[in-house]
């Protein structure tokens, strides 16, 4: 079926679902969106005191839940709760992911399966779930996938992880085509953070990355959140893109 171009603009997201919103970049995204006046639904396996506090401070604008992103049923009921509390979801940030730090030859096959399930299968299913609700209601919205520079460049010890991030970048492009302008779909691919999952690179590797980075420092979550917010909120014609935020380390 070939449709004529849909020329109606995609409005800014007003209710945004953030997976893995309890710490690190996810928590920074939740905080930033709240500051921008957006309603935010955040879930994570474990709700941290920080996320709990945001929910207590903004009871009308925040909905949090303890959901494992690989548990589709739990995600489904969370989405229903959110719709009742905050209204229909018209934005999603696929942020939840697990890291890796093992050479491929010595990574247990179960671990490979778990990385793929958490970082690739789960976000694809969550996206499917949310776009079904959005399409069903005739809503337009935005999708932002948090991927990684690993989706485009090679790093030892991150083979399965890289495969999932490259997979999400590829899905971003096809989804942007498939959703025919009703939704803007983009990826944000940060370089390595000094904290969190970048514990996966040893100090020597991190030093080396810093040396090769023109801006002279590793990426910080606050340097990524404005880009995510722009993709969710601003009127741009950016669609199906992967925006790298790494200080030109990979250039």
């Amino acid at each position: 079926m070939s449709d004529p171009a849909d020329t109606q603009l995609v409005p800014p997201s007003t209710v945004v679902l953030v997976s893995g919103g309890s710490r690190g970049l996810g928590l920074a995204i939740v905080t930033d969106l709240l500051d921008a006046g957006v309603k935010v639904a955040a879930f994570a396996r474990t709700i941290t005191p920080e996320l709990e506090k945001l929910a207590a401070d903004h009871p009308d604008r925040v909905h949090v839940g303890s959901v494992d992103v690989t548990d589709l049923r739990a995600a489904q009921s969370f989405v229903r709760e959110v719709e009742q509390h905050l209204g229909p979801i018209d934005g999603i940030v696929n942020n939840a992911a697990m890291g890796q730090d093992s050479l491929h030859a010595h990574t247990a096959t179960d671990d490979i399966a778990r990385i793929i399930e958490t970082n690739l299968t789960a976000p694809l299913q969550l996206t499917r779930l949310v776009i079904r609700r959005m399409l069903g209601k005739g809503l337009r919205g935005r999708i932002v996938n948090i991927t990684s520079i690993c989706g485009q460049r090679g790093f030892p010890g991150l083979v399965a992880y890289s495969a999932t991030k490259g997979g999400m970048d590829a899905a971003t492009r096809s989804l942007a085509r498939e959703l025919g302008g009703r939704m803007l779909v983009n990826s944000v691919a940060p370089g390595f953070f000094a904290s969190e999952m970048s514990a996966v690179l040893g100090p020597t590797q991190l030093d080396q990355i810093v040396r090769r980075t023109p801006t002279g420092h590793l990426t910080e979550p606050v340097e990524v959140t404005p880009v995510v917010r722009m993709l969710l909120r601003e009127h741009t014609n950016i669609n199906g893109q992967v925006i790298v935020v790494d200080g030109a380390a990979s250039i």
Partner: protein, 93 residues
């Protein structure tokens, strides 16, 4: 066993000495020699991380048990003794 002061080993487990022999073979294939001293630095011998992979896979072949491990442990390995300790320990996991 106890009277000899040996640690009870699982049937398929390689001893430290057996692992040392395999390590010597890995190096010999590259025309390098394994020093007798456990304190010898891997950097000086030219035993690199993929050589460690090769050795771990040779141990796997001998025991029939997969040895999976994360990279941070590898980064702490600097001497011949570290390699042997790591692989002996790994077989117990």
């Amino acid at each position: 066993m106890h009277s000899l002061g040996c640690r009870l080993r699982r049937m398929n487990e390689l001893s430290r000495a057996q692992i040392r022999d395999l390590m010597a073979q890995v190096l010999k294939n590259q025309d390098k020699e394994l020093p007798a001293d456990d304190a010898a630095q891997l950097r000086e011998i030219g035993f690199r991380s993929l050589d460690f992979s090769e050795l771990a896979l040779r141990v796997e072949d001998e025991t029939g048990e997969e040895l999976n491990f994360d990279a941070p442990g590898l980064r702490r390995i600097a001497t011949v003794g570290d390699v042997l300790d790591f692989l002996v320990e790994l077989q117990h996991q």
